[in-house]
Symmetry: C2
Subunit: 344 residues, 2 copies
DNA sequence: CGCAGCTTTGGAAGCGCTTGCAACTGTGAG
DNA sequence: CTCACAGTTGCAAGCGCTTCCAAAGCTGCG
């Protein structure tokens, strides 16, 4: 395995010059640069990351902390982060902390702190102040996606705003009996997102003078299967059925649609369903949704960091509201004619 | 940020002793060990990975190369690998090479070769001999999951065997008009998996004396939406319809089920569907499938590597066939009574 | 009481790079 | 023709650990 020394010998240059030539930093004559490059290529030399990290303090490695890898949002963010990082020549160290607080704790302490990553991207993870301080203390930029992260830069969509708009869309179609499927308490703890979206929903309802019926506020774990199970309860047991469901994620909206089909309810004729995400499956189900480009959010987070590394960016924590797009397909329509009213 | 020197001073020991005490290697008196630990804890000391890697040659980091992060199989493997690695105190460097050969090439060359990872886990990736040689040349163990990897250890399920068993299950139920949804050519190139499963299917058909009709051999990209689109063509256009579909993955099987529903076909009364995977969504759709524990495969791959690191394992490439379980739910049943035959 | 043989300890030499510094080269202006 | 200066280059000092080695401290047995 060739070292820089071998390259230097072969190129007839000093180690220092080779280092500068290959890294592009410092002044090197075109001639030397060319020689160094050729020699390196011929030997198949690749600089040892540990050595160069140790010497330079830069790792070319960013840590990505996600609460799960199975939810659409998270895997999409990972994809965006990964692609952008790879393009820039950075490694991605993935920390999947799905298994609870304990793992999360050990990740933060034993892994991130080991001076191993240049920066941290935390997705939908609410850290305690102490945890953030720890992270900030090691002098590494942090950017948070999809969750509040006091003291760090964040990228978020306007959760309450689009939730409100989603609900308003249903209301404007004429719905008044609207259910909301929100996220589980387990998620609330970390992400606070369920609450935010729910708040937007409630605001829209209140503004329209509509009642938020507690029995129509259901929750699930953000998965299709979880939402499916609970939507069956919602649609099967209520003496009166909602005419529309606003789900806090596309996966949950799909679960609702599947449950509706089980009961012979047609979407959108009998039941309107709206989600949030822009999941690839939305097309199959004709799902009306707010498209939040999760990949793009991941990519943006990385670009932000790269700017910082280049020294261009300012150190101040910046908060970006990532734009979303309303995608109307055919899972939402005017409510069915009220049977009771017809009869009366 | 405290260094080992600070710990040594505080503990009243030499740097060498502290290093031994904290790493657990070499003889250190219980007293010194205790002192070193306390001092390290008080200072919040964590050894720099780059420094210790440089000095020891061990990185405590394994590279995981996946072709995508969105397919069920891959994200499940990532999950299993991640959890097991984290438990063992290792970092996971993720290389998502979804964007084609070029990216793959650069990952192999510029990233993995940088002496940064202690081992490589390649999922469903077929590497050229040259690429494998390169990997083996840097003296790092490689284990492949779900794909052939000549020269490296592999973990695979019996693809052709379970495909054969799946087809046989349909045949034994009485089906003779069986379609097969296989993977795209794009996947074939790297994974060879579509072909292997297809071979199993064909063998079962041949053994039963049944014809493999080319127009019922369809393919998709392993996604629900891709399979859905092509299943619509299959079920909609054929003059004669198959009574059963064997899909090479659960996600594709689900796509088939959704397409069937669009045509008013009941599963399993009108159409039997069987998949392979053990996808979480299988339950929602009552999908009969072969459960391959993808998480478990990831975990096993890591355990294999850890054994090697501990020096216990032998260097020889080992091939493990990972067990699968047949899960019968209610997407498969006897074929519908043949209308033509009734009339005749 | 002495010594072999063990455990425990610290000194110091790296691991393979980056980079500050000083020396050296070549250029154009004076 | 000389001098100042910018562009190049190499030397050598680290980066923060691990680990070899030799020295020191113990133990127990003859």
């Amino acid at each position: 395995m060739p070292g820089i020394k071998d390259v230097a010998e072969r190129a007839g240059l000093s180690i220092a010059t080779v280092s500068r030539a290959l890294s592009g930093k410092g002044n090197v004559s075109p001639r030397s640069r060319e020689r160094a490059r050729t020699a390196a290529a011929e030997l198949g030399f690749v600089a040892s990351y540990q050595a160069s990290s140790l010497a330079s303090g830069r790792n070319h490695n960013v840590g990505l902390v996600v609460p799960s890898i199975h939810r659409w949002f998270f895997s999409s963010v990972v994809e965006g982060v990964s692609a952008t990082l790879l393009d820039a020549g950075y490694d991605l160290t993935l920390y999947n902390v799905s298994e609870g607080r304990e793992r999360r704790h050990s990740v933060l302490n034993d892994f991130l702190l080991r001076k191993r990553v240049d920066a941290v991207i935390a997705v939908s993870l609410e850290l305690s102040e102490a945890e953030i301080d720890q992270l900030l203390a090691i002098h590494r930029p942090i950017v948070g996606i999809g969750g509040p992260l006091p003291g760090a830069s964040t990228i978020r969509i306007d959760d309450s705003g689009i939730a409100e708009a989603a609900a308003r869309h249903l209301i404007q179609l004429g719905h008044s009996k609207i259910a909301h499927m929100t996220g589980d308490a387990a998620y609330e703890q970390d992400f606070r997102l369920p609450g935010t979206r729910q708040a937007g929903f409630k605001k829209a309802m209140r503004d329209a003078g509509l009642a938020v019926r507690p029995e129509w506020q259901v929750s699930a774990d953000f998965t299709i299967q979880g939402a499916y199970a609970n939507a069956r309860k919602l649609l099967g047991s209520s003496p009166e059925r909602p005419t529309a469901v606003f789900a806090a994620s596309d996966e949950m909206a799909i679960g609702v649609i599947l449950a509706a089909r089980d009961f012979g309810l047609r979407v959108p004729q009998d039941l309107s369903v709206i989600g949030i995400d822009g999941h690839e499956l939305g097309e199959v189900f004709g799902l009306t949704t707010f498209d939040q480009d999760a990949r793009g959010q991941g990519a943006l987070a990385v670009r932000r960091l790269l700017e910082r590394f280049d020294g261009a960016g300012d150190t101040a924590a910046a908060h970006t509201e990532y734009p979303t797009h309303f995608v109307i397909r055919n899972s939402t329509a005017v409510p069915p004619v009220d049977q009771g009213r017809l009869r009366g």
